[in-house]
Amino acid sequence: MDVLLQQIVNGLVVGSVYALVALGYTMVYGILQLINFAHGEIVMIGGLTSLFAAKGLLAMGAPPLLALLVAILAAMIACAVIGVLIERIAYRPLRNAPRLAPLITAIGVSILLQQLAILVFGRNYFSFPELISKAPIVFGHITVTLNEIVILLTSFGLMAALLWLVHNTKVGTAMRATAENQKVAGLMGIDINKIIAITFAIGSGLGAIAGVMVASNYGQAHYYMGFMLGLKAFTAAVMGGIGNLWGAMVGGLILGLVENVGLIFVRGDYKDIFAFVVLVLVLIFRPQGLIGERVAERA
């Protein structure tokens, strides 16, 4: 029972990170019907950028909290710029191409970003400084770290902020309108290229923060860290119903829980199996995802 509770807590922490990354996949899919396979690499770049920024700031004598905040900001800016550039250079010219073309391009962009990361940062595993205490805190039978608590709270805060933005602001409403019908959105005077760029920037910014979280939680970052994380977050997005924000969040949390609770029964080496068993099961039994469409296209 204690083990179960502990794994649920661990699962929520990991799941909230999956959810943040899954949101990036689902936002882009919702607006362009494109699976941006390079999104995992955005997370990786976020992790590495923040790592080097934080190390540099610490070396200059900055206090850890300031180093963390600046590192997050640097990662978000870097990732948002790269996300917008990818869309502009790689995806926009293919907007009216058959759907396979941008998909393959996305895989190509993913490999390109990995290679760029090797050129800029190198192939090593770099250790992430402990900016928030990772000393265990014991609540009854559960052990958590302050770092994990911060990850969980920040993730939920960001998800709430995103939902608010999408549902209560002009730009968010325009994003939903563009996702539904680009032509008519254009007739309303919405510059859809601008809205798509904003979508990429927000998704990549969230991915950057997820990258910082993963790097700090595992204490390391490397050029390949985005691959598996990206696949799992993509699985989470599909599980929830790709294109649906709630779906990505619920999918991420469920995937984190399944993985970690599953660890009670099998060895850690097999952890990754759970994500993909879940993906296969969802695709067989509920291909539209757990949270299906609510409204018909036409009355």
């Binding site: 002009k170 409403t173 325009a174 939903r176 309108a177 539904e180 019908n181 032509k183 008519v184 959105a185 254009g186 007739l187 309303m188 005077g189 919405i190 510059d191 859809i192 609510r294 409204v295 018909a296 296209e297 036409r298 009355a299």
Partner: protein, 237 residues
């Protein structure tokens, strides 16, 4: 004075096939002009070319003397041109209120926008009852009302309506045309593309008849309504 909308030798082609073969027409300020014609005559192609959804293959479109040929559709709204698209094109997953606000996307005068939303609700009480309902759950007629209301929130000087009666029950069509008449009365210039020639000509000042991509007849709406050729072709004898 320049007409509000002046179309000269407009051509539209899909691949090598010419859908519009160089047509001329104009809409003067305050007029309700209708473009009628059978299915496939090129009515929607004309409107698509005017609204930047496709690039015309040739010809010139001017709006109040300004060349707007091939302008991107999101730039039209700023000039004062709103298009109410064929098939209504409401945002199904946005509620009625949000749909209306999207019509005012290019504007920033929030208080005035909300006043005008209220005006639309007064003019079309049906929408008010359904403010927070997803537009996809509305009936076809209600969606058409919403689409027109949304277009009005752009404060257009020129409103272009593409087949507003399409697929609607006769009673609903009457209501839609009542709304169109109200808008025309308020002084908005209207270009109405319609398959229902009878109704369109009854409400319009002038009309153009489009056949296989060419304008074959034009004139005063009353005259066209009485013209035996129009009667034979569109009004069932």
């Amino acid at each position: 004075m320049n007409p509000t909308l002046d179309v000269k030798k407009l051509q539209v082609a899909y691949g090598g096939i010419k859908a519009i073969k160089g047509i001329d027409f104009h809409v003067d300020e305050g007029e309700l002009v209708t473009l009628i014609g059978a299915n496939g005559a090129g009515k929607s192609s004309t409107l698509r070319a005017l609204s930047g959804l496709i690039k015309p293959a040739g010809g010139k479109v001017t709006y109040k003397g300004q060349d707007i040929t091939g302008i991107p559709s999101h730039a039209l709204v700023g000039l004062g041109i709103a298009l109410c698209p064929e098939g209504r094109g409401v945002f199904a997953r946005l509620n009625v209120h949000e749909n209306l606000l999207m019509g005012a996307y290019a504007r920033n005068d929030k208080a005035q926008i909300l006043t005008e939303v209220d005006e639309i609700y007064t003019m079309i009480p049906r929408l008010k009852e359904r403010t927070l309902q997803m537009a996809g759950t509305l009936s076809g007629g209600e969606q058409q009302m919403l689409a027109i209301g949304r277009a009005m929130l752009a404060q257009p000087k020129l409103l272009m309506l593409d087949e507003p009666s399409m697929g609607l029950a006769p009673l609903m069509v009457e209501k839609i045309f009542e709304i169109i008449r109200m808008i025309a009365k308020r002084g908005t210039t209207i270009l109405l593309i319609e398959q229902n020639a009878q109704l369109a000509l009854e409400h319009a000042n002038r009309g153009y008849v489009l056949e296989s991509g060419e304008i074959t007849l034009t004139g005063d709406a009353k005259t066209l309504l009485a013209d035996p050729r129009v009667k034979a072709a569109y009004l069932g004898g």
